[in-house]
């Protein structure tokens, strides 16, 4: 059994981070260069961490499987980044951002981490502005803000509809500066395939060069994983096609615990699926809900009509009706589930009946088409490219899609996993969003972890390691890890099967969506676990991988990643099955408010809203690898102790 000690510093919540920083051991500048740190990934978290660690004087080696560190999927975040700047004078504060985030996460995040995130948020905006991120400005030259879901203040900073891109390019530029100075060594087209653990500490990785197929060993004093989320288990998602869980999954198999894998975010505003050839779902930014109104017809028989033929009185603006205080800006989990509910009632629109309208007619009437174009022009253009429909004239069709994973490798307050020396940042860790992430918080967390948190916390671990004493790559653990990678490759390429990896991925995705999607129940999850297990067995029997090991081989890359998705998919289901409550994005049909509950009668929630069970499930589930894919994983628990906030019913009415 692993021990999950959160290592939260003592003292009042608001001063924990300050006192932590003062009490952490430092490393003197002359010694810093003797420590080598491996960072895997160069999204917001990985790039910002690599750059900052190198600025501090550490020897940093950065690995990405992309052709360039600039490609990570942080680049695709559209809407914005939250920060408690209160530039709008609308009552925002660090405490309010903290509270909104912890409530948005349905009281399943760690209090101290979230407060730190809110504190650091203000520094992020300063840092990014100084780097030249072209945030939107008002005419006076100062920064502009917009609103996002789950908040009643305007605290979201943005750069048109490409905030993630601009922040990523900012972090990438900081990384470039350090690569140019020789302080960071950048490995591109280099995929991490295993974690090397020496005497219980993470001390290196095994890497495949995607261009040549060469497998190499890399040692370090600490390993940082910033490899993003695992939503592609569902095959169809808003993730980039290349996004995968291999780095964190192989670390899991080397002993790192996986925290809350079942917390998935299903984003309410994506373009609906159009056919089975589809490779990807495209997100329409949440910022659209600032001005767009979500509706479906009141009557089933209207669903096939053109939207313009449905009278105003026959439209159900269901978010405004059900959650009047937040309306169309209800948090993502709630908006997604509401869309599912109305579609399940048979009131969904479009060919498949799996869609709702996002209508801008009111906004265009109020602001004029020009203003709407200025705010969302690129999103409307993107929508037009994909659907061939003009959203200025007819409402957008949207439907929820897998978008983000709140779960991830378990980390303590230091962002270190239960394997000493292994740090996990950004979406790859589980820590700050609880059971649901608010819009514009992912960018905040990635940059917070990379620029400000890890650089302060890693010295505590490194101080316990003697400088220049990391194990060499001829150590037995390196040899064993490399051999296991080689044998996996051999097994995949040597298999004489008949099915392509992609066909398995499609099937896995469908199983996951059907059995562990927006609404989950015991029977469904049990079936899911059984079917996924069978699919995994078939995979190893029947997969067929083209090409050779020593060359550019996309089939081989995918085959390895899909093998990991199979195992992870099963773990997600197991976690969802064990968590017999509903919270945030995890909705168990057995646990929902009914019209007879007191909270419903008081008007706090609607019937069908998620019902937490704080008495039994106020903990982080940290799953530990059972030793083999078919052995049950071990459940470790980290209790969530709230010192400041009272776990209350989450109400957006």
């Amino acid at each position: 059994m692993a021990t999950l000690n959160s290592n939260i510093p003592s003292g009042p919540l608001a001063s924990k981070w300050e006192s932590y920083k003062f009490n952490t051991k430092l490393i003197n500048p002359a010694n810093k260069r003797k420590y080598k740190i491996i960072v895997v990934g160069a999204g917001l978290a990985g790039a910002s961490a690599s750059a900052t660690l190198a600025e501090l004087g550490y020897e940093v080696h950065n690995f990405v499987f992309h052709d360039s560190p600039r490609r990570a999927h942080s680049v695709a975040a559209q809407g914005g980044i939250n920060a408690a700047k209160n530039y709008q004078n609308d009552g925002d504060s660090v405490h309010r951002l903290f509270y909104d985030t912890i409530k948005g996460g349905d009281f399943r995040a760690r209090e101290a981490n979230v407060h730190r995130l809110a504190e650091v948020s203000v520094n992020i905006i300063d840092q990014c502005a100084a780097q030249g991120v072209p945030f939107a400005r008002e005419y006076g030259g100062l920064l502009d803000n917009r609103s996002f879901g789950g908040a009643q203040v305007s605290r979201t900073f943005y750069a048109r509809g490409q905030t993630g891109q601009q922040l990523l390019l900012g972090a990438y530029s900081a990384l470039n500066k350090m690569i140019g100075q020789g302080a960071v060594k950048s490995y591109t087209h280099s995929e991490m395939l295993d974690l090397v653990v020496v005497d219980g500490h993470a001390k290196g990785i095994i890497v495949r060069n995607l261009q040549t197929g060469e497998i190499t060993r890399h040692n370090a004093d600490a390993v940082v994983l910033a490899t993003g989320g695992y939503g592609n288990v569902y095959n169809l998602s808003t993730y980039a096609r290349g996004a995968n869980a291999t780095a964190i999954w192989r670390a899991y198999k080397r002993g790192a615990c996986f925290g809350n894998p079942c917390y998935m975010q299903i984003h309410p505003t994506c373009i609906p699926v159009s056919g089975d050839y589809q490779s990807k779902l495209t997100l329409m930014s949440e910022s659209l809900r600032n001005d767009g109104r979500v509706w479906v017809p009141k009557k089933k028989e209207d669903c096939r009509k053109a939207p313009s033929d449905i009278a105003e009185a026959d439209r159900d603006y269901y978010l405004e009706r059900m959650y009047s205080a937040f309306g169309n800006l209800a948090p993502r989990d709630i908006a997604s589930r509401a869309a599912k509910t109305v579609c399940d009632e048979g009131r969904g629109i479009g060919e498949t009946g799996l869609g709702v309208y996002l209508d801008f007619a009111d906004a265009i009437g109020r602001l004029g088409e020009g203003k709407v174009r200025e705010r969302y022009g690129n999103l409307f253009a993107m929508y037009h490219e994909i659907t061939n429909e003009d959203a200025y004239k007819t409402p957008m069709r949207i439907y929820p899609a897998v978008h983000y994973t709140m779960g991830g490798l378990w980390v303590d307050y230091n962002l270190m996993s239960n394997v000493p020396g292994l740090f996990v940042l950004g979406e790859a860790n589980f820590s700050d969003h609880g059971a649901n992430r608010l819009g514009a918080s992912a960018l905040m967390q990635g940059l917070s972890d990379g620029y400000f948190v890890l650089p302060a916390t890693i010295s505590g671990y490194l101080a316990s390691q003697k400088p220049d004493k990391r194990p060499a790559t001829d150590n037995a653990a390196f040899k064993q890890a490399e051999e296991s990678v080689q044998s996996l490759t051999k097994q995949l390429l040597g298999n004489k099967g008949t099915r392509t990896p992609a066909s398995f991925h499609k099937e896995l995705g469908k199983l996951m969506w059907d059995h562990c999607g927006m609404a989950r129940n015991k029977a469904g999850l049990e079936t899911g676990i059984k079917l996924i297990g069978e699919l995994r067995e078939e995979y190893w029997r029947n997969v067929k991988v083209a090409g050779e090991a020593g060359e550019w081989n996309q089939s081989l890359e995918n085959a390895g990643r899909i093998a990991d998705f199979m195992e992870l998919g099963e773990l997600i289901c197991r976690d969802a099955l064990h968590r017999e409550e509903s919270c945030g994005g995890h909705f168990r049909e057995e646990y929902q408010y009914t019209k007879d509950d007191p909270e419903t009668k008081q008007g706090l929630v609607n019937p069908g809203d998620v019902k937490r069970r704080d008495d039994a499930f106020a903990y982080v589930a940290g799953w530990e690898y059972g030793g083999a894919p078919d052995k049950a994983p071990i459940l470790n628990k980290e209790p969530l102790v709230y010192e400041e906030v009272h776990m209350s019913t989450r109400s957006y009415k």
Binding site: D67, A129, A174, G242, M382
Partner: protein, 257 residues
């Protein structure tokens, strides 16, 4: 619908390549071009043939990974979109579509349609940044930026680094890419201290990578998925000239006391 594909196949950077022709299976016109290639590849894999290697990732036009010259135009027939946002409805049933990699000496072919665009990164390493240490930044609102400058900087900063400008230019010039970077940072007050050092360093690296020169043909602007303007090339040319006139900074002598 069905199409015929004439695709460049090349095993690796050291072997010669050739065009090969493939018939697509029945397609849906709402498929993206890359989804069409996925379908063709599944068929090839099922037949035991080597699938066509092509670069892609986000599939929503922002990561800059996808490339391809489709029917003579980088990123396919439409303006202002990347290959991944090109849909089969842009083609007709029975069309023959020629698919080639981006071609430039500075972008060597890795396999089939995949090229190595590391040269862009190296240009960025040379100067594509504002030197600000983490934690050293002043309050964000202490540096006002005129809205028009911020907007113009954003126009330039939208560059996704795909390399279509190089692919389209008859000289395989990277001027639009470098100009977008130089202009984005050069337009902002934060970028002023390193403005002239930056442009010199980046242009020097650009030349060292073996890209061609600018003949102001406008191809780059026409194919850019973010429609980045030639205006920025003029801006870079001007900054570069000023940088040359300013000369090298005075060397400081001696160490610290």
């Amino acid at each position: 619908m069905k199409v015929k594909l004439k695709v460049w196949r090349q095993k690796n950077r050291n072997t010669a390549g050739e065009f090969r022709t493939y018939e697509s299976p029945a397609l849906n016109e709402n498929m993206s071009f890359l989804e069409m290639l996925d379908v063709v590849n599944e068929e090839l894999a099922n037949k035991g043939e080597d699938p066509i290697a092509f670069d892609h990732d986000c599939r929503e036009g922002i990561c800059g990974t996808c490339s391809l010259v489709i029917g003579g135009k980088p990123h396919g027939p439409h303006r202002g979109v990347a290959t991944c946002q090109t849909y089969m409805r842009s083609f007709r049933d029975g069309d023959t579509i020629v698919v080639e990699p981006f071609r430039a000496k500075a972008f060597p072919i890795i396999k089939d349609l995949v090229v190595d665009r590391k040269a862009f990164d190296r240009i960025q390493h040379a100067g594509g940044f504002i030197s600000v240490r983490t934690g050293a930044a002043p309050d964000a609102n202490s540096i006002p930026v005129p809205k028009e400058n911020a907007d113009l900087a954003m126009d330039a900063a939208q560059c996704i680094g795909c390399g279509a400008c190089v692919a389209a230019c008859k000289n395989a010039s990277a001027m639009l890419f470098v100009a977008a970077k130089v202009s984005h940072l050069g337009l902002l007050p934060q970028g002023q201290p390193e403005r002239f050092k930056r442009v010199k360093a980046m242009v020097t690296q650009m030349d060292a990578e073996g890209f061609g020169a600018c003949t102001v043909t406008g191809s780059c602007e026409a194919v850019c998925p973010k429609e980045i303007s030639l205006d920025f090339i003029a801006r870079m040319n001007r900054d570069y000239g000023v940088a040359l006139l300013k000369g090298e900074p005075k060397q400081i002598a001696g160490g610290v006391g």
